[in-house]
Symmetry: C2
Subunit: 91 residues, 2 copies
């Protein structure tokens, strides 16, 4: 089975996540999944775009999936959107 | 050729855009594209998820594409990420 690495994008500067993605490919990963929820979704897209355009050769967007997750909070359950962008080595 | 309708997501409340998408399907559209740039990307994902989960039957996510657009500003050119989520009637 193919090893899959995941980078969770949150509220840090976008270059932190770009570096994490690039590092995983440089360490030999064949695929890296970039995941985010809520407002961090736009930063996840930025992460993928910057990594692909500026740092990664021969890597492509393999899949983009969006979904809705149910989160438990103090005031009950709430829905939050999420995204998963899978980048993969182009064989 | 298939008629394609587009909803551009900006900074208004998300339900405005959900209503626009649902209205286009109710008016007979076979496909609706939801587009956004920059920080509005997360709201575009919310729009698609809410429209699909709460309002639209027999409609599916057909395609999700992200890209980088070059924008001209007063201080020169800058890159901004964009997303296009295409929803389509499930035939």
């Amino acid at each position: 089975m193919q090893k899959e690495n995941t980078v969770f994008v949150g509220n840090k500067p976008v270059m932190n996540y770009v570096l994490a993605v690039v590092t995983q490919f440089n360490n030999g990963a064949s695929e890296v999944a970039i995941k985010a929820r809520g407002k961090a979704i736009s930063r996840a897209v930025d992460t993928a775009e910057i990594a692909l355009n500026r740092f990664l050769d021969n890597v492509v967007k393999k899949q983009i999936v969006t979904s809705t997750e149910v989160i438990e909070t103090d005031s009950g359950k709430t829905n939050v959107s999420s995204i998963e962008i899978v980048l993969a080595q182009n064989k």
